[in-house]
């Protein structure tokens, strides 16, 4: 299965469906080991934290060369700011993938759907591979698809909360209705939750806080890598349907098989 189950995104064929991040680490020096342990091939980095000055402790130097960089627009409050950050990222040599985060609510860090769609439209037109972070809303997802998004990144729960798939039903709808890949981003706190998202049919998961703030980030990265793989395998193998009650007989239709005159 590993040979054939690749995830095509932005012109790349990914064999890992776990995306990781660079935020919240006590030591960025852990990042290479986290990438290796998780098997991840895509890593997101906040452009606001990238410091290319000579002598600065630049997060970029910790990112292994084989990783696909997914710069994000953390800190953008409007589409205009997100667009400017994306252009800066490209000019700084971070490639043409961009994760759009437009957040103007610092209490819950919920994404602004309208501004996200606007930024997606502009950046997709400019040739970026646009991965917008969004609230799992079908209408916004359709608008993002029309605007040229390469994938949709719905939140499982607000960023950093580790609350899991609180938006499960909404994500399920996106998986069913959208032809674009669905990458569950934010809120995943445990490997079992990532596994659940993959079992549901999500194409990939992005996990940062739960790995970066674990007591053993490398061990947790490995656990997430395995959980995402297990969930994907389960999805491909076809999960059995779930019944609420044991079915020993057919109380409603059993009469069809009984001979007339029987009790």
């Amino acid at each position: 299965m590993e040979q054939t189950d690749t995830f095509e995104l932005g012109g790349r064929a990914l064999t890992s469906r776990l995306f990781t991040g660079t935020g919240k680490y006590g030591d960025d020096g852990l990042i290479p080991a986290v990438c290796e342990a998780s098997g991840s091939q895509v890593i997101t980095v906040a452009l606001r934290r990238v410091d290319l000055d000579k002598g600065a402790d630049n997060v970029m130097r910790h990112i292994p060369g084989h990783m696909t960089l997914l710069p994000n627009t953390s800190g953008a409050r409007t589409a205009d700011e997100a667009v400017r950050i994306a252009r800066l990222a490209r000019a700084m040599g971070c490639g043409n993938w961009i994760k759009i985060e437009v957040i103007s609510d610092n209490r819950y860090l919920l994404p602004d759907g309208y501004e996200t769609v606007r930024a997606t439209e502009i950046l997709a037109r400019e040739g970026f591979v646009v991965l917008p972070y969004m609230n799992p809303d079908l209408y916004v997802a359709r608008s993002l698809a029309n605007a040229g998004a390469a994938a949709i990144m719905p939140l499982g729960a607000p960023i950093g909360t580790n609350r899991g798939l609180r938006t499960e039903e909404m994500i399920r709808i996106l998986i069913e209705e959208m032809s674009l890949p669905i990458i569950v981003d934010a809120g995943i706190g445990t490997p079992s939750q990532a596994c659940q998202a993959m079992e549901m049919g999500a194409h990939a998961c992005l996990v940062n806080t739960a790995i970066a703030t674990a007591a053993d980030p490398i061990g947790m990265a490995r656990a997430f890598g395995q959980a995402v793989q297990a969930g994907r395998r389960a999805y491909l193998a076809g999960l059995g349907s779930v019944a609420a009650l044991a079915r020993a007989s057919s109380p409603l239709t059993g009469f069809l098989d009984q001979e007339e005159g029987g009790i």
């Binding site: 919240k24 960025d28 452009l47 606001r48 600065a56 800066l88 860090l109 703030t213």
Partner: protein, 370 residues
């Protein structure tokens, strides 16, 4: 709409009685809740919460880790001018104190900036007294133009301005505003500020709001702890921060917890805020407002700063001089004495040893990009 009605209501409300009425069960319930009301916040600040400090600290640590990770943002103040028309009774720069008055020219500003930049810092806080005819908006704008190439993030802690003036500075590249109310008690405020433009309690109270409206990304408020009952002041500070967060959700609201330090002049603090009190204040704020940025300055000792790191701190000053021109040449009289004189490199070393990443750069200026 302003915070004033709430502030005035708080000022006359018999909060002491409310603090005394809280029992331990209310405190435990507040610690366990996902989101806190003002009543829950009050419970955490009450004397009844004192025996539960470890549980509060544990919750505060978890919330801080979840929302900010193992990172602490570093900045340093750059004192531009100590001319001041105010008569704040507790401040070393007050007009009545006979200290040498000085103001950096742009060459000196550049030298200070370069000395700070050489330590690796990327975020600075520009400070002046209140003397707009000497160090006004034009002067600040010129200083920002000099410093901009060195620092992606520039905040100001100067004198309260009108929204249009803040907007001018935002356009010049300022992204943060720090303004302390000092005390939320209007009567005490009047006593402590007997003369000078700072006497205007209401204008100062509404200053963070004007900064937010002008487009500041970070607005940092605070009360000077020691001027009056700390529980009241922290309660008011927390409610003010919550009000600002709701009113301006796109702005990063930060709170500082400055304790009074020795300074030029003879003012004695009205109350002593112990280490234990400060930990209670900080952890209560964190539990009440999980995403609040919390700033701890070098007013605190190295030992205390190092130990409170996990309990809610997200921003720290380092390599500090509170004297005008103190980074590039030996310091003269500072605004107050600092307790943590460690260099930026020494602070970073301690942060790393404790598993924290010092964050130097946390914003990419956009004004110059296409």
């Amino acid at each position: 709409m302003t915070f004033l009605p709430e502030a005035l209501h708080l000022a006359t409300y018999p909060l002491e009685g409310s603090f005394q009425k809280v029992d331990g069960n209310e405190v435990l319930r507040a610690i366990g809740r996902d989101s806190l009301t003002a009543e829950g916040f009050l419970a955490l600040l009450s004397p009844a919460a004192s025996p539960h400090l470890e549980a509060m600290a544990s919750r505060a640590r978890d919330l801080t880790m979840r929302h900010f990770g193992r990172t602490v943002s570093l900045f340093t103040p750059l004192y531009l001018s100590n001319h001041c028309a105010n008569h704040c009774r507790y401040c070393g720069f007050a007009a009545r104190n006979t200290i040498p008055r000085t103001q950096l020219n742009l060459e000196e500003v550049r030298a200070e900036g370069e000395a700070i930049a050489a330590t690796g810092l990327k975020q600075i806080l520009l400070l002046t007294g209140e003397a707009p005819h000497k160090a006004g908006v034009d002067y600040l704008e010129a200083c920002v133009a000099v410093l901009r190439p060195l620092f992606p993030s520039i905040a100001i802690e100067v004198f309260p301005m009108e929204t249009e003036d803040y907007a001018r500075l935002v356009r010049a590249g300022v992204d943060g505003l720090t303004v302390f109310q000092e005390t939320y008690d209007p009567e005490l405020y009047a006593q402590l500020h007997p003369a000078g433009p700072k006497r205007d309690f209401v204008f100062r109270l509404n200053t963070p709001q004007r900064g937010a409206e002008a487009g500041m990304r970070i607005v940092n408020i605070g009360a000077l702890l020691g001027l009056s009952d700390w529980r009241r002041e922290i309660f008011a500070t927390g409610l003010h921060a919550a009000w600002l967060q709701r009113q301006y959700p796109g702005v990063d609201i930060a709170v500082s917890l400055p304790r009074m330090r020795p300074h030029a002049g003879d003012f004695e603090p009205a109350c002593v805020v112990s280490d234990r009190d400060l930990v209670q204040a900080m952890t209560a704020l964190r539990i009440f407002l999980p995403r609040l940025s919390v700033t701890i300055s070098t007013r605190e000792t190295p030992r205390f700063r190092d130990n409170i790191l996990p309990l809610g701190v997200t921003r720290m000053s380092a390599g500090v001089s509170t004297a005008v021109g103190g980074h590039a040449k030996p310091a003269e009289t500072g605004q107050f004495e600092i307790s943590d004189g460690r260099s930026v490199a020494e602070v970073c070393q301690v942060l790393r040893a404790r598993g924290y990443q010092p964050v130097f750069k946390d914003w990419e200026p956009l004004e110059a990009s296409a």
